[in-house]
């Protein structure tokens, strides 16, 4: 009897040892990974690959280089389903990604989206969003003017030589900081080309031809005369052209 008792004690102690170190064991009953989607933006310039500080040529024959390209997209939706409320693209930080998160690509064969932030959310406390919300101030950083004016929807900065002789020595800065509620643009992105990146991740590429931001389908931007906008009252027209042309140039990449 005593022997049985002792062996039982030994077995119990062994079980305690095994159980107490459970966190070091492999967990074979893993939760299934959630499906994720990623929406990308691939800028181009008149058919050329896009890079910062790479010289391109405008329709007028001017040399143009880009040093900054940031844009906020919001309300990415399809037939009442929301993929994400917002995504922030910053070429400098991530040359492709607008947004990545949980979702099923099959629910979003096409998308509608805003270039910018709708008025209903444009004037909220930028510090109060969830930390991982793209609109949180630490994620948008300087893409926020203030509570009254809200977010900067689209930032394009660079340099252009608009002189006649085009020696390459006369590159002068240009910048467009565009936003305000009235200039929100809506785009329709049909037939997204979802590609499998892994068992749980699908991605779709959008593209924007930066050439067409200046040589628009309906309006042109004269970079020689229209070099700067903070979307002040006297600059709203220029910001509107920039945002309209950008929205028109934003397409699904096939």
């Amino acid at each position: 009897m005593k022997t049985i008792y002792l062996y039982t004690l030994l077995l119990t102690a062994g079980l305690i040892v095994l159980e107490s170190c459970k966190d070091d064991e492999d967990n074979t009953d893993q939760e299934p990974q959630p499906m994720e989607v990623q929406v990308n933006l691939v800028p181009t310039y008149d058919g050329e690959s896009f890079e910062f500080n790479k010289p391109f040529t405008t329709q007028e024959g001017y040399t143009i280089e880009f040093t900054r390209l940031n844009v906020i997209l919001s309300e990415l939706e399809h037939e009442g389903k929301t993929l994400t409320r917002s995504g922030v693209y910053k070429y400098e930080e991530h040359p492709k990604r607008i947004w990545r998160g949980e979702g099923s690509f099959q629910d979003f064969p096409s998308l509608t989206a805003n270039v910018g932030v709708p008025a209903s959310r444009n004037h909220e406390d930028p510090s109060a969003w969830e930390d991982d919300d793209p609109l949180h101030i630490l994620n948008t950083d300087d893409m926020h003017w203030g509570w009254n004016t809200g977010y900067i929807f689209l930032i394009i900065e660079g340099k252009a030589d608009t002189t006649a002789n085009q020696t390459g020595e006369n590159l002068m800065n240009f910048f467009y900081h565009t936003g305000t509620d009235e200039l929100l643009k809506t785009v329709s992105l049909e037939n997204l080309n979802w590609k499998s990146e892994s068992n749980t991740l699908y991605s779709a590429d959008l593209t924007v031809d930066m050439y067409k931001v200046f040589d628009g389908d309906t309006v042109d931007v004269d970079i020689k005369e229209e070099r700067a906008s903070h979307t002040m009252p006297s600059q709203v027209e220029l910001s509107d052209k920039i945002l309209s042309n950008f929205a028109s140039a934003l397409k699904v990449k096939q």
Binding site: G14, N53, T67, D131, N173
Partner: protein, 361 residues
Amino acid sequence: MNLKFYVYFVVIFLLSSACRKDQISRSVTPYQPDVPEHFPNMPVPADNPMTKEGVELGRQLFYDERLSRDNTISCASCHEQKYSFSDKEKFSLGVDGQIGSRNSMALINLAWQEDFFWDGRDESLEEQILEPVVTPHEMDQSWPTTLNKLSADVDYRNQFFNVFGVEEFDSTHVSKAIAQFLRTLISGKSKYDVMYKYQNSLPLTPEEQVIYEQITTEEWAGMDVFFSLSGGDCLHCHDGALAHVNMFANNGLDATFEDAGRMLVTGNPADKGKFKVPTLRNIEHTAPYMHDGRFETLDDVVDHYSFGLVESPTIDPMMEFAHQGGVQLDFQERELLKTFLKTFTDEQFLNNPDFQDPEVN
């Protein structure tokens, strides 16, 4: 009898060896940083959660001169609280009077910053802290020597064990502890903060209401100059609750560059002459100014942006009046702007006993 003895021996051995880590007695208390309501949440790295004991250990290390080769220099030597954790030197003095090449940066609200040093060569506080100890013109001491010196102190050994659960601590534990302390250096109780909250209709506390009533007409007018695109045009780099954005900029100091700044890190000529945009908090107490400490007074700084901008290929597009030398503020506007800049002063920060040398406090 033999069997009984054997079984008892095995049982005791197994139980005593079962997951030893759980049997270590440590006592740490989570630290809740005093983050102002109008600030974003504080980002804290998952591998370095803040504890009261970790913060206190970091504070002791921050003021410990044994981190330097000749035991004369601590972090606080170049980052004094009364100067908002910067110093008054153009270039700080290291061991043996060696001189660096960049101005000591103020240590304020570092938890919300993404890049460290004027050129942003480190992307975390924990990384940043490792550098000055071994840098010849700063503390000039290898980490093995530093660790030997600190390990000789039984109190440190006990504290590192308590905070991090390590019997032999290394440089990463030292940097983590100091980082925990540095994250507590929060400034959000200046007049500017009250002005920011008032302008954005955020409720003021009774204490803030008292401050609000002390804000002068000149300070409000200076704020207008600061944020006006046709005035000081300062908002592009110094905006929001934190009054700071994470970016590098060439702010028109030079046409050619002795110090290439950010380009030294990225290798990209487009970054030549760009430096981290510093916070303006407590700017009244952080002279001299700029990465090379070239400006001794706030007047010098305001004059630079008014008339002294120099164009160069990488000048920031937001320096849009550089072609005319600056924003051309008149005397009254410059005085108002200077008055506003002093609203960034946070006396509670400058005198907070929790930030002081524990040997003194």
